[in-house]
């Protein structure tokens, strides 16, 4: 058995290396592109972890970009800062390095992201190595060449690829039945970035029912073991800060609830509809002659304080969003409780992140990566999944467009999305036309099919997006054209928030569809 698998493993790795190599070249080329303030944030963290003792990491306020990721990420930055110091000591200088933008720092940080993506590649490889080669390739295209990841990590600047790699490794462990390992890796991930905690309930229920089974004592023993392992991870991460008495400060930094419901640019989720409804009602009531007090803070202004931004509808608190997320997740938790199947865990986790994105408090549009990437793993299995994923990935990638607003980045984001949709369309239609041709095994017809492979694939392509989906994607194009060209031309400087609002609302529709679809799938699934 081993001898047969070995060459397969080798070719699989070679092929993955090919896909990863192309992605790496593209990432290298994108080094001089626009970078957001997150770049300076991470540089500051490098300096901070390098030049200050551990006890001051979470209390330092030299720069406004204070450390607000969990300790393991801080350790990771400390690790990187060793090399940064070798490359250019000014990078890790807390005071002189502020807003440092020499080539050295740009190259160093960008390349650190590119190298840390190896973690993502390993995760993808683990998850897809046992699939057949066509599916495997599609998964690699979807994840390794993901435009959303490139936009967020390699243009905007963040380390999501690296973190998602941990998530994928954890999921692959669970799928293979190595529950303890999966749990530990997930704990590690949480200590890197706590935003991933949204899926913790799913993990908890799943591990409780799948790992801690087999009688009360055995189950309890396993529960203790899992608890001890996860606890160890947390202790290793948070222990030093506990020792220095910094833990309160750490927690305060990690959960800044004073930030408000929405970001300056509204992530396309449920609250967009809520805000729009509020505005609409306020407008309507004002027309009817009822006096409405204008809200003290406005969503379009950017910063949102503590005062209620709603004119008519009730105030939304973090607790409410938290409850809503849990409520939305509930069907999935029930399913996981009743029948914890390893094959379903990826979907459940992705669904949990979708819920977190759709109902969460102060959600970043970048958080859509959390469900986009795991969903890619399951997207290739049947036509229904493909249809859903095709739409979802385009919508969520499009919702990232406002991240890059400079003229020089415009063709980059458009071409990335275009390439992604093209390659998805081609790959999926080829994949499913092949399945169709295999199903219709009529030797006489088979020859004809081979001859007109291209046209058959094109016909199958129509199946991938339905009628509504096509209209919806066309609408996306209209929104983009309006925002980029017609709006400045027709309205000039009036209503400057309108294009972004349109993008949010329109993408929120797509995300809502995806949420409902996933929910339906999970409920329907036997």
């Amino acid at each position: 058995m081993r001898t047969v698998r070995n060459p397969n493993v080798l070719t699989a790795m070679k092929e993955l290396a090919w896909f990863a190599g192309i992605a790496t070249c593209i990432k290298l080329l994108l080094i001089p592109s626009y970078r957001s303030t997150d770049f300076e944030v991470h540089r500051n963290w490098l300096a901070l972890t390098h030049s200050l003792p551990l006890s001051q990491w979470y209390s330092d306020e030299t720069s406004p970009w204070t450390l607000d990721y969990p300790p393991l990420f801080a350790f990771f930055e400390r690790f990187l800062s060793i090399f940064a110091n070798l490359v250019d000591p000014k990078i890790v200088n807390l005071h002189e390095g502020l807003n440092y933008s020499a080539d050295t720092v740009i190259y160093f940080q960008r390349i650190s992201v590119i190298v840390s993506d190896l973690c993502l590649f390993y995760g993808v490889y683990r998850l897809s190595r046992n699939l057949d080669s066509a599916k495997r390739r599609m998964i690699w295209i979807l994840i390794v060449w993901s435009p959303a990841l490139i936009i967020v990590d390699h243009v905007h600047f963040q380390y999501n690829g690296f973190l998602l790699g941990f998530l994928l490794i954890s999921l692959s462990c669970l799928e293979e039945g190595k529950d303890l390992m999966g749990g530990v890796v997930f704990a590690v991930l949480l200590c890197f970035k706590h935003l991933f905690a949204v899926a913790a309930p799913v993990y908890f229920v799943y591990l409780l029912r799948h790992y801690c089974r087999g009688g009360f004592f055995r189950g309890f023993g396993r529960f203790l073991m899992m608890g001890a392992a996860v606890g160890m991870v947390f202790l290793m991460a948070f222990g030093p800060f506990l020792y220095y008495g910094q833990i309160e400060q750490v927690i305060r930094r990690l959960f800044p609830f004073g930030r408000g419901l929405c970001h300056a640019y509204w992530a396309p989720n449920f609250w967009v509809f809520y805000i729009i409804l509020d505005k609409g009602l306020a407008f309507l009531l004002a027309k009817l002659g009822i006096n409405i007090q204008a809200p003290a803070a406005s969503f379009t202004g950017g910063l949102v304080g503590n005062s209620s931004p709603f004119a008519v509808l009730p105030q939304v608190t973090p607790l409410i969003t938290f409850m809503m997320v849990l409520l939305a997740m509930f069907p999935c938790l029930v399913k996981a409780w009743r029948e914890p199947r390893p094959g379903m865990i990826t979907r459940w986790v992705a669904y949990a992140y979708t819920c977190g994105f759709f109902f969460g408090w102060h959600v970043h549009e970048k958080a859509s990566l959390h469900f986009l990437i795991p969903l890619a793993i399951v997207a290739v299995h049947n036509l229904e999944d493909v249809r859903h994923y095709f739409l979802l990935s385009i919508v969520s990638c499009y919702s990232l467009f406002p991240l890059l607003f400079e003229a020089k980045d415009y063709p980059i984001k458009v071409l990335l999305l275009l390439l992604h949709s093209l390659v998805m369309w081609l790959g999926f239609s080829a994949h499913f036309s092949k399945i169709a041709s295999v199903k219709a095994v009529k030797p006489r017809q088979r020859r004809d099919k081979m001859g007109s492979g291209g046209s058959a694939a094109a016909k199958e392509g129509g199946l991938i997006v339905g009628w509504v989906g096509k209209r919806y994607l066309l609408g996306l194009l209209v929104v983009e054209i309006w925002g980029q060209f017609l709006h400045p031309y027709l309205l000039g400087d009036r209503l400057p928030f309108l294009p972004l609002m349109l993008v949010s609302v329109y993408c929120a529709l797509g995300i809502m569809y995806s949420w409902i679809w996933q929910l339906g799938w999970i409920i329907r699934c036997p």
Partner: protein, 597 residues
């Protein structure tokens, strides 16, 4: 047993990959490749251009911008004319008129969005991020409008006659042509418009392959009028004299064909000429065919030069300026315009052409022909003259005049065999080889060659990538390497690394060239030699970046790079010439077979 199983598993895997690719559908995957190539270009254009922030002369970017400024603000008649508004010593326009028109069109685009960047006088040395963006977009748009359609045209023609089994490599081939790293780096990094002239050339090649000779003539004439790097006046006279002799011998005045011949004095010209001539000779009425081609070429040239044809002085002035002039041709054109006594004029002009060749190479009417004053080589180009100058000091041993003669005869004798082959047996495959060989000949031996001229041999090599994958791979690698010092100066090391890696990865794509995969592994000594050379080049890359050269030899590393590249280019030239000649036998055999069928 185990071994066999393994092999079977691997075979299944590759079969799977193959069917996967076939199912993609060629048209659709071509679309993907086109968008990807565009994306790579956009990404490269984020990087700096040549001479960025390097006052007072800047670089090629400023030259192009300045031409836009000049063409936009002055009437066409003054573009090439030194005046108070047009200082020719500061990046004066010295490219043929088609470049000027292209600059004018781009200038209109720039003026619409950002008038400051093309304002007369005040915009000198203009550098702004928006201006850079717009300039980059002009190159991108010309690439998309000319090079991409031409490449697609070529691919569709090249694969149209083939069985479907051979079409597998089509996408791979297209990707190699569109993602040629050197062209992208020079056009979108360094900043030039090579995509226009090369795109026109590919179009002409494709037209020849699809038997549209007249279209090919138009396209190639346009290509010649875009960039005179493909041109050198010297060869016009020389070629004219060759033709003259042949005319005497045959006693047939291909008078129109003669003109045609004269136009084609570019890197690719010998190939185009010999192929077309070879074809015409096989027609029922060669004279008619040749004169048709000649008329088309003449018409194209007249159209392009129209604004300067109002007076003899203006015409010659522009010619002198762009160092374009084929003296006999222009005089011939004039004679057409001025009097109708063509026959006698033509003879006279030919004689004069030969005379100028014999005397000085400097026609009496021209006051300046700059390239001859510059010397036989510049910088460190991996061609014969520059490389051998390490041992033989050509510039000291010979006068410029005799050097011209030597370089000319060396070039002609290098491309002559491939020309003869094409005239004897014109074939599509042979034509592509002839393009490669003649451009190699010019690159290696002609007078005043630039590093960037390696793009010209690279083009036919990429067109031949299906037949000669290794030649393409090897040539791309060393062409890139030969431009390495130039790109280092432009701060383009990062895209250099990224693009060369990308090209290697694409070359070894898992579902790529099914038809051309090497059947057997090469012998050990070959592998050793190849890896040794590659190792050397990698070490040189690093050494060039990190070490300071010794003070006595400040250009030591450049010289070593040049030596290595030249040796490889020379080997490739010999190999492709041999290959072209062995084609002759094959094609003869093929034709016999066809007749039998």
């Amino acid at each position: 047993m185990e071994n066999r199983r393994e092999r079977k598993a691997m075979k299944d895997e590759s079969d799977d990959a193959r069917s996967w690719l076939v199912h993609w559908g060629t048209a659709a995957s071509s679309m993907f490749i086109v968008v990807f190539a565009l994306f790579v270009r956009v990404a490269v254009s984020l990087h700096p251009y040549s001479g960025a922030g390097n006052a007072p002369k800047y670089g090629d970017y400023e030259a192009q911008r300045h031409w836009m400024e000049i063409t936009l603000n002055l009437p066409a008649r003054e573009w090439y004319h030194n005046s108070s508004t047009n200082d020719l010593s500061y990046w004066g326009l010295d490219y043929p008129p088609l470049t000027a028109y292209q600059s004018y069109a781009h200038a209109l685009f720039l003026r619409f969005f950002h008038p400051d960047s093309v304002a007369l006088f005040t915009s000198r040395g203009h550098e702004s991020s928006f201006g850079k963006l717009l300039m980059r977009w002009t190159v991108l748009s010309s690439d998309v409008l000319l090079f991409f359609p031409a490449a697609l045209y070529f691919i569709s023609v090249y694969y149209s006659g083939r069985r479907s089994g051979l079409k597998d490599g089509m996408s791979w081939h297209l990707a190699l042509i569109l993602l040629s790293p050197c062209l992208i780096l020079i056009d979108h990094g360094h900043f030039q418009y090579n995509c226009i002239s090369l795109g026109l050339t590919i179009g002409a090649v494709a037209a020849i392959l699809s038997k549209n000779e007249l279209v090919a003539c138009v396209l190639f004439s346009l290509a010649l009028n875009h960039k005179q790097v493909e041109f050198s006046p010297w060869y016009c006279y020389a070629l004219a004299s060759i033709l003259f002799i042949s005319c005497i011998v045959t006693l047939i005045m291909y008078w129109m064909g003669l003109c045609f011949f004269l136009q084609m004095s570019a890197y690719f010209a010998p190939a185009f000429f010999s192929h077309l001539l070879g074809k015409c000779l096989r027609c029922r009425n060669p004279l008619l065919e040749v004169s048709k081609l000649g008329l088309v070429v003449l018409g194209t040239f007249t159209l392009i030069w129209w604004p300067y044809l109002y007076s003899v002085d203006a015409f010659l002035g522009v010619n002198a300026r762009v160092e374009f002039l084929l003296f006999p041709l222009s005089s011939y054109l004039l004679s057409l315009l001025i009097n109708n006594n063509t026959w006698s004029m033509l003879l006279l002009l030919l004689i004069r052409g030969v005379l100028t060749l014999a005397t000085d190479g400097r026609p009496i009417v021209f006051s300046r022909l700059a390239p001859f004053e510059r010397g036989i080589y510049e910088d460190y180009v991996a061609n014969f003259w520059c490389t051998t100058s390490v041992l033989i000091k050509w510039k000291k041993l010979f006068t410029t005049k005799s050097l011209k003669l030597i370089s000319f005869s060396a070039t002609v004798s290098t491309f002559l065999p491939s020309m003869v082959q094409q005239i004897r047996a014109p074939s599509d495959q042979g034509f592509l080889y002839a393009l490669l060989n003649s451009s190699f000949a010019f690159y290696l031996f002609s007078f005043q060659v630039h590093e960037k001229s390696i793009l010209l041999p690279l083009l036919p090599a990429s067109l031949l990538a299906m037949e000669e994958p290794l030649v393409y791979r090897w040539l791309t690698y060393f062409a890139l390497f030969s431009m390495y010092p130039l790109l280092c100066r432009d701060h383009l090391i990062l895209p250099y690394v990224a693009l060369s890696t990308l090209s290697i990865i694409l070359y070894y794509s898992p579902a790529g060239r099914q038809g051309t995969r090497e059947r057997s592994s090469p012998p050990l000594w070959k592998v050793l030699v190849i890896s040794l050379i590659i190792l050397c080049s990698i070490v040189l890359h690093i050494v060039y970046l990190t070490f300071q050269p010794p003070e006595r030899y400040p250009f030591l590393f450049e010289a070593v790079i040049m030596l290595l590249c030249f040796s490889q280019f020379a080997l490739l030239t010999i190999y492709t010439n041999m290959k072209q000649w062995t084609l002759l036998d094959c094609s003869a055999g093929m034709e016999k077979e066809k007749k039998l069928l």
